[in-house]
């Protein structure tokens, strides 16, 4: 069901990009500029996102107007907090490139790099 996840991301992308409430029709039209997509599919996925708590909606005439619950930045920040929060379990769940270090450790790293540059010259 990879395409479903892709569509979720695409719908949210549109709404975050516009920064205003929008109808499913508007989203479908935007997606259709890149590739064909069915109104009913986008409608279904928008409802899924609403049920998952990613979108809120209010009725305008006969259509629903959808708005993201939180901004992309807020989700990114939460994601980073989750990734970088110290937890006993993290090492097995995520692999970091390098760990956080104290200033002295960073200074030692820079010194090691400088020494290597000098010997390379």
């Amino acid at each position: 069901m990879r395409w479903l996840g892709d569509l979720e991301a695409e719908i949210l992308d549109c709404l975050w990009k516009w920064g205003r409430p929008a109808t499913v029709r508007e989203v479908v039209d935007d997606i259709n500029t890149r590739r064909p997509s069915a109104y009913s599919t986008v409608m279904t996925v928008a409802t899924i996102l609403y049920n998952k708590g990613w979108l809120t909606r209010e009725k305008q005439g006969r259509a629903w107007l959808y708005t993201p619950v939180r901004s992309r930045e807020a989700y990114s920040a939460a994601l980073m907090e989750d990734a970088l929060g110290a937890s006993e379990d993290r090492p097995a769940a995520l692999a970091y490139f390098v760990e956080r270090m104290t200033d002295e450790e960073v200074a030692a790293l820079r010194e090691a790099l400088r020494t290597a540059d000098r010997t390379a010259e």
Binding site: A77, M80, A92, E99, R110, L113, T115
Partner: protein, 301 residues
Amino acid sequence: MNAAPALLGYAAAVGWVAPRVMLRSSWPHRSPALAATVWIAFAASFSLCVALAALHLATPQAHLHGILYSCQVALGIGPTTGAGAVERVGIAASAVVVAAHVVSFAFHALRARGARNGHRRILDKVGRPSAGLRATVIDHGVPAAYCLPGRRPRIVLSTGAVELLSRAELGAVVEHERAHIACRHHLVLVAAQSFATVFRRLPLARHLREQIPLLLEMAADDRALRSYPHGVLATAMVEMASGGAAPRGTLSAGGPTALVRLRRILGPARCAHPALRGVMAATAVMTPLLPLLLACPPGLG
């Protein structure tokens, strides 16, 4: 012949002496992947020894064939001729050792996978996949680089990291993370973690838990160095370590592992001697097999 004393002696050697020898040697940092394999082999042979010793203590006359026979009896699938109460205790004890490992591994693996799945569900909506970087980019000013290993792996870079590092440095970072994913390092970590949970106070378990994460990082560094110059990876490490936000490693009590890795990357590249590597590979194969040979000498079989 009762093999229990021999098995326990062997377990003591592997559990107490072997880690000290490994820590004093210099070759593990030169061939980190092989060293990680040897550590895991030690752990496997220690567990096997303990399980077999429990059996042999309870059934002094038995060797492995006899044990298999009594297992059948205990499970009710073999001829039911007199499995004594003591034998059952022995079988139960070794079953507990085996079960503890299975449960511990499953616990750590599922907990990590649950954390990853939750993270990935949000990541796939919030992050932007970048084909050029071969990673998912999230909008965040603080430089960060990490990966979600497993079945649907993701490599994550923050926009902070993308701005901080040069194109080549980003490539080296991504290559490092790809090595973690391709070599299934997360499973090795879980194995080390679960062994350390079962035998908490054992020196072998303590050191293994500290050494394995570092060795896996080094192995991933080596993979990145296959396609990127040493200086590029080293600079990326220094930049990310100074500007980056990652938690302090909870497993690496040995202090700044990045410094150890950096000195290694910048130092003269030398792999352990082929003969030594051969011996250590043989050690990795033989240590888990030895307990079986002790428990069941071919001559008696």
